[in-house]
Amino acid sequence: MLNRVGVFCLAMMLCAQVHSASISQTTLNQYAESGDILRLEGKRDEATLSIPLAAGQQVKKASVELAVVSSAALVKRRSILNVRFNNATIGQILFDPERPQLTSTVDIPAQLWRHGFNSLTFAVSQHYANQCVDGGAPELWSEINLGRSNLKVHSESVDTPLTLQSLSHFFGPGIGAQSQVTLINTKEAAKEVVANALPLVAQALALRSQYVPLQIRHLTLSPQTTLPVLSNSQQWSPALTEQYYQSSWYIPASDKRQLHVLVGQKQTLAKYLGKEMQQKINGPFLGIENTRAFAAAQSTRIPAIPRLIVSGTTPEEVRKAAKTLALMDDALNPDNTITVTQDTSGPATTTANILKPDNTYTFGQLGQNDITFTGEGQFEKTISLRLPADFYVPESASVKLALDFAYGAAVGPGSMMNVMVNDELVHGRPLDNINGQAYRGYQLSLPARYLRGGLNTINLAVTMRAPLTGQPCDDVGGSHMLFQLQNSSSVSLPEAGSVVSQPNLGLFKETAFPFARSNEMHSSGIYMTSDVMTGAALTLVGKLAQTAGAMLPNLYLSYDIAQTLSGNAFLLSTPDQLPQDLAQGYKASLSATKQWPYRMQNALHNRIYNFTDTGSEDIFQLSGITKQKSTLGEMAVISARKNPRSEETGSLYILAAQTPELLNQRVDDLISLSLWGQLEGDFFSWQNASQPLLAMQVEQQFQLGEEDNRLLELRMWLSNNPWYWLLALAVLILLCTTIAVVLLRRRNQAVTEDW
């Protein structure tokens, strides 16, 4: 490690001055939900993409290159694609029937950009004739191939004073934000700092990145670091040595623009911090600064770069500082350092943004404003409900929606409102009153089984069509039409238990369950067989926090896998280092000798295996396993099973790759939006970020539920084992029958004794 650092530093010194400017080139499909092709139909149509820009960035130059195909039936000069950016028209592309395919580049003026989300709108007006155009004619269409359309943005960091307030500028979903961060601790750092504080820092930064994956690297600094050789016969003086150690000498040249984090107790970090900063650390401490630049021979060898310091005088104070970092709102911290003097928060829970069963929430409480749709067209709005992952309701429970909505006068035939829950249509209503109508508390009672643990969506799809005049070529414009859904609308959740079938990677990807649980405070460990995997472990921890949408305070790192594991545990390992007992008794074993079920071998064609629908495949499948000695190659695998090394009921997730380095790479792939969304079953393998090799359910599932609710447990158990219920009932009925028969015979004897 030390040698490597030395080589890095040498290379670093030789590099040129760091640029704060960045160039981003992305395809537009990254900003669209609908895939590669954006189709625009009818006389007029429009679609908007949201382009995020990180807060600390200033755009210097930007352009969008569009690949467009239009219908050959469109009339020249009357068929136009308008490109708007934040509602300002920045380009007009004329469709030409003789040149239906075209590529056009439109510059986006730098001054139109703003921090946060920017709207890029494509609006078409399309005509196949000069008059009497039927808006529903099939020849009125054009397409933008978003996969082949590019957005180029030249941006620079804004030169602002470095305060904790600006921390969120570094992380976020926008262009120019960091997608990678390095967490650094010293070798002397207490075990607790690595085990407890690092995961909290990783989560704090990942939560700031919102939904964008954040790759986390980890470095350990050693006090015996050798100093690099200076050029031009320069000698190391104590001042120069101090200057060097307080610079960002440990950061690779490629990451020189990025913020990194130094975590540890005051005394272990003292060597790397300036005196002023050291004096400030008297308790749980958070600080942000530019590292000292290292200049030698009149030139800057190591530039100053931003650094976040999470520290304290004891490991517990470091943990508190990390926790504060995960909880705090950056906007409230205009200084560059803070010291936490008191923390009265009780046991942290993850229920902050998870709805509680047996409660009613207005859409306003869910963070939704009033929804208004105007004009002709199809409109959609999605409202998210995040339920506990182990949300369990009886078959007959129902969820109630009370909608407050209204639509204005003069809507045309074909106007309607559809309500979907988790993409399942649950209600439709024609908007057919010519005078408009307003509803308050419009009740929809839906079976609660439409909802599942984790993220649920209520989708409101409204179509508004302009009224017909009945006269040819006499179209009524639809701009007057209006639909409103008030945020006083509410959703009432039924009472629910906390039971769930495990293991289930599908639930894991949506809710981070079982590591994020709303009602239990058990600690969960991320175990590693090598310290090289620490970065991967922290990346996973960050992803879990992003998935849960909240900090998970009970996650810790551990390198000790010889003992009992926590109830729910994540183990990162190579096949060679995987303990044998964790491979035994499991259908798919990932140790040096691989063990694969036939079913897994045979069903490779079935990438995403729906384990609830076995269909007719079983007929052709053999049972049994194969054992082989082989490597995992480039592949990584996650397998989940009931934890055999814990007294508590829980799941053990094993993530394996052939080498620790490969494992780090595969974890980076795994947290990508494309691959994470495809987690399914209890066995998942992949070797790149685009798609999995295999996703299957291999092991028998088990129930994980409320430990103190025996009734619910019994209910769940009986639900899965109706024959036991039947048996108990049969015994009861037979007993009652026998007693009844004896009593009846006695009565009969009494009645007939004197006959």
Binding site: P394, E395, S396, A397, S398, L425, V426, H427, G428, Q443, S445, P447, R715, L718, S719, N720, P722, W725, L726, L729, A730, I733, L734, C736, T737, T738, A740, V741, L744, R745, R747, N748, V751, D754, W755
Partner: protein, 703 residues
């Protein structure tokens, strides 16, 4: 447990119920065990259903829907409660052995007063009853027959209406003469207080017999009536009542109009007397049904005669005596033949009285508290009383689908899977238990038919009782009416209205089914339910066409050996085919014979213990087949006595007839049967109403 698991369990339970019911019918040794097992399983499904309905399904989006859903649930709760009580009551029907007076010396027998109350019945009907009562096998010195005439009271004979006054005076004289000629004691009183109960209590004060037999004016006893009933009173001193079935010699309107089912299908009466009273008897809860019963005077005196608080004095009296710890006995042998109401109006009048009377007992006596009654006796009375509240539930079951189909109210908050898992098994189990307990005496869907027919009218009567429990007064059931031509009952209009509503519901339901795909599951279920209601209403239409009645008395099947003799001593031997008080049909063995117009019928009379020789007139003779139709000639008192003894005096004849028509049929056969009979009456009503309108128009035009 989730719906699918519930479905699996319910399915298994239904299979076991089916097997247990089958075994209960075939294996005698374990009959009771399998019967109880089937009943408990079925009731478990019913309780499960009600719990599910109550806990999970009573939700609605608005108050109207909530009210409708609760109304429906209450109706279902009522149906489930009566079903459970009925299962408990009928779990072990008691079959008593036959007893006879032969082992008792004549002088040790108790004295018996036969009380026959009358109000407005035809003297011809009374004459038959009186003659039959006199022919009962019992020492003459210990038997006294009394006619209790409430139509000839002083109040009636002195009323202001001249015509009615003359009629009452004439009736009084006529009945006094009849009683004089038959050696029957005639009783009347000053005022018509407390109707039938008052009449009997008035006579009780003037009689002294240890036992009292009460017979309605049209209830003709067989000669062995006292022989089979009195021994139970001699042997057990705590017995206050021996009740026997009412055997109906003519079809009620449903039996007559509904595909002439009288000789083939068990009636509602058969179900009560053939099964329910036996079940009640096991729990010492069989009760007095107003006639065809022997009561002990000593016990009657303790409650001051028959109770008169309600219009069903019979059940009320039995209730009081049961509460005092006395016992009742039910002898399941038809030994009294009566007349069922001939017209639908009379039928409905009778049922309204029963419903009102039983509801009065519920409200005034509160049998659920039942001081002095065992809990099984309370169940017994509640079973009989609660049954009469069926109009509330039946109307709700008829109208509730319409609230959804027409008005869109959410009455049933459940998914299709839940309906299949909970509702369907409950319905199937209920029918399985009904078949197990009442299979021989009740055909599928026939009870529903009876209930729908009565519900609208009885509902009004019940509401009156609930408003004022003391309001109803005793209404005598009209009997002995003749139907000279086929016509549509005046009660039909309300059913036309219901049919229009139900058909509207079906049309709107079909529209809903095609245009509202989101509620298709529920719409389909409600639509099927509504269609079921429509079929039942169509079947009721069939009952509403009053069929012409050709004969004054209904003929019942018979197979006695008979000989026809003429004055010259020639004889023709043959077999009787059917028989009534008026005449009969026989088939003589000899072919190609010519018979004289008047002959004597010679046959063995079991009740008289000798051959009878009754003059009769031949109405029809087919020389080819030997079929002879004849009517009796009432030329003398002796002939009249022999006719009564021969045609009405033998209980074996009633028993054989009853056995012939009480048989179980498969459920699907019953459904098919109802379906087959459902459609024709619709066209019949249509053509008959059109015809009536045409005639009306012609008459108007002629004027």
């Amino acid at each position: 447990m989730d719906a699918l698991a519930q479905l699996v369990v319910a399915g298994c339970m239904l299979v076991v119920i089916y097997l247990a019911a089958h075994e209960a019918a075939t294996i005698k040794r374990y009959r009771v065990f399998f019967r109880v097992l089937a009943v408990l399983l079925g009731l478990a499904l019913t309780v499960r259903y009600i719990l599910w309905r109550g806990i999970y399904t009573l939700e609605a989006a608005d108050w109207l829907s909530l009210s409708a859903a609760w109304l429906l649930f209450l109706a279902e709760l009522y149906a489930a409660l009566t079903h459970i009580i009925s299962c408990v009551v009928n779990i072990f029907p008691l079959s008593r052995p036959e007893r006879s007076l032969q082992k008792y010396a004549a002088d040790t027998l108790p004295t018996v007063d036969v009380l026959i109350p009358t109000y407005n019945e035809d003297p011809d009907i009374l004459q038959v009853t009186l003659r039959a009562a006199l022919q009962m096998h019992y020492p003459a010195n210990k038997l006294q027959v009394h006619l209790l005439d409430d139509g000839g009271t002083l109040q009636k004979r002195q009323q202001k209406n001249t015509f009615a006054r003359h009629q009452a005076q004439h009736r009084c004289q006529q009945l006094q003469a009849l009683c004089g000629s038959l050696n029957v004691r005639y009783h009347t009183r000053e005022q018509n207080l407390f109707a039938k109960a008052g009449n009997i209590n008035s006579a009780l004060a003037n009689t002294t017999g240890e036992l009292v037999v009460i017979l309605d004016a049209d209830h003709v006893p067989t000669s062995d009536f006292l022989d089979k009933t009195v021994p139970w009173l001699i042997e057990r001193k705590k017995v206050f009542l021996v009740q026997t079935p009412h055997f109906m010699a003519n079809p009620d309107p449903v039996e007559r109009n509904y595909f002439s089912a009288f000789t083939r299908m068990p009636s509602e009466n058969d179900m009560f007397y053939g099964t329910i009273q036996k079940g009640l008897d096991f729990w010492n809860a069989s009760f007095f049904c107003g006639s065809a019963a022997v009561l002990r005077r000593a016990h009657l005196d303790k409650v001051n005669g028959l109770s008169g608080q309600s219009v069903t004095e019979d059940a009320e009296t039995a209730y009081d005596l049961h509460a005092m710890g006395y016992e009742s006995v039910y002898v399941n042998r038809p030994m009294v033949s009566g007349l069922a109401p001939e017209t639908l109006q009379a039928f409905v009048t009778q049922r309204m009285r029963w419903a009102q009377g039983m509801t009065q007992i519920l409200l005034l006596k509160k049998p659920y508290r039942g001081a002095g009654l065992s809990w099984t006796q309370r169940f017994g009375y509640l079973s009989s009383i609660l049954f009469w509240l069926f109009p509330f539930a039946r109307i709700i079951f008829l109208l509730m689908p319409l609230t959804y189909l027409i008005f869109g109210l959410q009455i049933y908050h459940a998914s299709l899977l839940e309906i299949v898992a909970y509702t369907i098994p409950h319905v199937i189990a209920t029918y399985q238990l009904s078949t197990l307990l009442f299979g021989r005496t009740r055909w599928p869907l026939v009870s529903e038919l009876y209930e729908i027919l009565q519900c609208t009218f009885t509902l009004k009567a019940l509401v009156r009782v609930f408003r004022n429990p003391n309001a109803p007064s005793f209404v005598v059931t009209p009997k002995g009416e003749n139907l000279v031509q086929q016509y549509i009952s005046p009660l039909a209009n309300i059913f036309y209205g219901l049919i229009v509503l139900v058909v509207t519901g079906i049309i709107l339901g079909l529209h809903k089914l095609t245009t509202e795909p989101l509620t298709q599951d529920l719409t389909l279920v409600v639509l099927l339910w509504n269609t079921f209601n429509l079929l039942l209403l169509f079947s009721v239409l069939s009952v509403l066409i009053e069929q012409r009645q050709m004969r004054e008395q209904s003929r019942l099947p018979a197979n006695d050996d008979v000989t026809f003799q003429d004055d010259e001593g020639r004889a023709w031997v043959g077999n009787m085919r059917d028989l009534s008080l008026g005449g009969g049909k026989a088939q003589i063995h000899a072919r190609h014979q010519s018979l004289p117009e008047q002959l004597h019928l010679v046959s063995w009379s079991r009740s008289l213990g000798r051959n009878i020789n009754i003059p009769c007139q031949i109405l029809f003779h087919d020389a080819q087949s030997g079929v002879v139709r004849f009517c009796f000639l009432r030329t003398s008192d002796a002939a009249r006595n022999e006719i009564v003894a021969y045609t009405m005096g033998d209980s074996r004849r009633w028993k054989s007839f009853q056995r012939r028509r009480t048989r179980p049929i498969p459920y699907l056969y019953g459904v098919r049967h109802v379906l087959r009979v459902s459609l024709r009456p619709v066209f019949q009503h249509f053509t008959m109403q059109l015809k009536a309108l045409w005639q009306q128009w012609n008459i108007t035009k002629g004027k």
